[in-house]
């Protein structure tokens, strides 16, 4: 996020060196520090150097080893993917495997070559078909009071729960060390899976594990959108009346009612309070943005302009703005308006823009954009991020083939998107990256499309 914000700074930014002095005190009594020690590091401000030790096996159960391996690798991957840590390579860790606070010699981890600022360690055992796990987070620079976090978990002994424990513990660590933003290790990604001629809605964990289908409608279902409370999934599906908005309840694990309307209804979007659904509907002849409640009632039209209006998305911070794609000036462009249809503002100045997604803090929009659209034009469809206040943008993907359907993660640090290296729709796969375009990696194989990251 920092890099995103800094990118468009004026040129003289590099001229300035910044120095910051922070004085922290409880109460408002005396305001000037009289004494204190000074230490210096060169570890960089953005990333905390964290060492993740393999957990110590706490029981002799034969299952321990396999589950512990799942746990260790998941925890390591979660922290490495968080985007806020500089993770210490396992080869640089001390030989010892501490399992409890009494067993760790914190200085060993603070010294080179580990040079960790934070150490994660603990023990992991299986007893009586239950996983018992104790996890600790220690501040290696603070020898006197090193403990930051201690957690205890007790779950059924399955591979999935070993992974879930690791996700939960990783989220706790990220929450403490990121300065208050929730981790995403427990978040889910919903996407369209190409199964033969049909397209069904599938679900997976944020790291690509645990992929499984949700719907079995035997038709073409598109653009899944999860509700803010993770209870319902809205999507558009091809049925007897053409494309209609459908609703699937993850709580009941079955389809629930959403009133059908005339015309083609596409690309639903949840309002952040979970009470409204915006979508594109052509019931009046021209595809326009409509807003209705979660069962399809009390629908009202927001846009009225000749040309298609599709792909709405609410501002998740305020809920009072909608970004969407409009073709009112020929090629589809990105627009922003208030939810009552006023204050329409065009964001892109040309090309072919599609599928916007709003960052959780409301500051940025990400969207797919073919900036030089036309026969023989250079470039292709790539993922862009635009700062709404200034309309300055940066390109996140380059030369990776066609990219589409970006979706922000709940922490605002990651973007998931669909990518097809050769441009063919059947070769679409889901990729994830940090919101500055680094650390791209695949989550699925070919045949997955239209990812949507859950709100939490």
């Amino acid at each position: 996020m920092l890099r995103l914000k800094r990118t468009p700074l004026p040129r003289h930014a590099y001229l300035c060196r910044l120095g910051v002095l922070l004085l922290l005190l409880v109460g408002a009594s005396a305001l000037h520090a009289q004494e204190g020690f000074k230490t210096e590091t060169s570890s960089g401000v953005s990333n905390i150097r964290i060492a993740v030790a393999d957990f110590k096996p706490a029981s002799a159960d034969p299952q321990t080893s396999a589950f512990k391996h799942t746990f260790d690798s998941t925890l390591y991957a979660d922290l490495a993917n968080a985007g806020i840590f500089d993770i210490v390579s396992k080869s640089l860790l001390p030989q010892a495997t501490p399992g409890a606070p009494a067993e760790i010699r914190i200085q060993q981890w603070a010294d080179a070559p580990t040079s960790a600022a934070m150490v994660v360690f603990g023990n992991f055992g299986v007893q009586a078909n239950r996983i018992t796990c104790n996890g600790f987070l220690f501040d290696a620079k603070n020898l006197q009071y090193p403990q930051v976090l201690a957690k205890q978990y007790n779950e059924d002994a399955t591979d999935d729960s070993a992974r879930q424990i690791a996700h939960r513990f990783a989220d706790e660590i990220i929450f403490r060390l990121s300065g208050g933003s929730q981790g995403i290790a427990e978040s889910k990604i919903f996407y369209v899976k190409l199964t033969g001629a049909d397209k069904e809605i599938w679900q997976m964990d944020y790291d690509g594990a645990n992929q499984h289908p949700l719907t079995h409608l035997g038709t073409v279902s598109l653009s899944p959108r999860i509700s803010p409370d993770n209870s319902r999934l809205a999507f558009s599906s091809l049925g007897r009346d053409g494309f209609q908005i459908r609703m699937f309840s993850l709580v009941l694990n079955r389809m629930v009612n959403f009133s059908a309307a005339g015309g083609t209804n596409l690309s639903p979007a949840w309002s952040p309070n979970g009470k409204d659904l915006a979508y594109s509907s052509s019931r009046s002849g021209d595809p326009e943005i409509w807003i209705s409640d979660t069962s399809g009632g009390s629908s009202r039209r927001v846009t009225s302009f000749r040309g298609p209006d599709v792909s709405p998305v609410f501002n998740p911070r305020s809920g009072s703005q909608i970004a969407w794609i409009s073709g009112r000036t020929n090629l589809p462009q990105l627009y922003v308006m208030d939810t009552d249809g006023s204050n329409v503002q065009r964001m892109t100045d040309g090309g072919y823009a599609t599928s916007p997604s709003w960052s959780p803090n409301g500051q940025f929009l990400t969207f797919a954009w073919d900036r030089k659209y036309g026969p023989g034009a250079p470039g292709g469809q790539d993922i862009y991020v635009m700062e709404i206040a200034t309309k300055r943008w940066i390109q996140l993907t380059h030369d990776g083939g066609r990219c589409d359907f970006p979706s922000w993660s709940p922490d605002g640090r990651h973007i998931v998107y669909a990518n097809s290296p050769d441009g063919r729709a059947t070769h679409m796969k889901i990729m994830t990256m940090l919101a500055d375009g680094t650390q791209k990696h695949e989550l699925t194989g070919a045949g997955a499309d239209m990812p949507n990251w859950s709100w939490k």
């Binding site: 800094r6 910044l18 305001l31 401000v45 620079k141």
Partner: protein, 240 residues
């Protein structure tokens, strides 16, 4: 007759006296010794040297002055004339300390498990400095208890605000070298509030950029202890 008489007298005289013995080079025992002497050894005075440089006294003729023909110089090629170098003062260099050779890693003896009298605790992080990408940030904590116990939280506050400070917002013409101090409260949930300027820098743009840095932060994460804390944060803009 007279001439005849004179001639006859001469002839007659010569005739009369020409048999007077062998006088010169005669191989006779009474011949006198002849001493031959080398010429160089003659004690003659040396020839007087004359003044050579004098025109009148010199034996060598003075050379005629050489009159060379006037030539036109070809114009210099551009790279022939060296541009005069700027006179620079020699740069004084401080003596570099020779780096100590890397020490061999010594086996560390484990610290004693029993506390010894007078043993000090670990490093107390009441104040710390973070090296930023483009400068340094230092944290100092007055409340030693909070600072020691939750040093990681202090670092998070420090780095989070520093991340959100856009130095480009401060006008470098007026702000460089100045510092401003902002005071704000962090509540139990970690949300900063009530930011106000404690010490203005004199540059309004620097004050504003510092205020915005604090206001941009949504939260630092819940406080590990206590109800609220008050933070004094000094922003200092260094010249590059």
């Amino acid at each position: 007759m007279l001439h005849g008489l004179i001639a006859a007298a001469i002839l007659g005289w010569a005739f009369l006296f020409h048999t007077r013995g062998h006088d010169w080079g005669e191989n006779a025992s009474n011949a006198g010794a002849i001493q031959a002497t080398m010429v160089s050894s003659l004690p003659l005075p040396p020839t007087q040297r004359t003044l050579d440089t004098g025109v009148l006294t010199s034996e060598a003729p003075s050379p005629a002055p050489v009159i060379t023909k006037e030539r036109t110089e070809p114009p210099p090629t551009p790279n022939e004339i060296a541009i005069p170098e700027k006179i620079t003062k020699p740069i004084k260099e401080a003596e570099k300390p020779t780096p100590a050779p890397p020490k061999h890693i010594q086996p560390v003896t484990p610290p004693p498990t029993k506390a010894v009298t007078g043993e000090t605790a670990g490093v107390r992080i009441a104040q710390s400095t973070l090296e930023l990408k483009n400068g340094t940030a230092s944290v100092s904590v007055e409340d030693r208890t909070f600072g020691q116990r939750f040093a990681y939280y202090v670092n998070i506050v420090n780095s989070k605000v520093a991340q959100n400070w856009y130095t480009a917002e401060a006008d470098p013409r007026t702000s460089i070298g100045k510092s401003t101090t902002i005071i704000f409260d962090i509540n139990r949930e970690g949300v900063p509030s009530n930011a106000r300027i404690e010490t203005p820098s004199g540059s309004p743009s620097l004050d504003l950029s510092a205020m915005r840095a604090v206001q941009r932060v949504d939260g630092f994460g819940p406080l590990p202890q206590g109800d609220h804390i008050t933070v004094e944060y000094t922003f200092h803009l260094h010249p590059q």
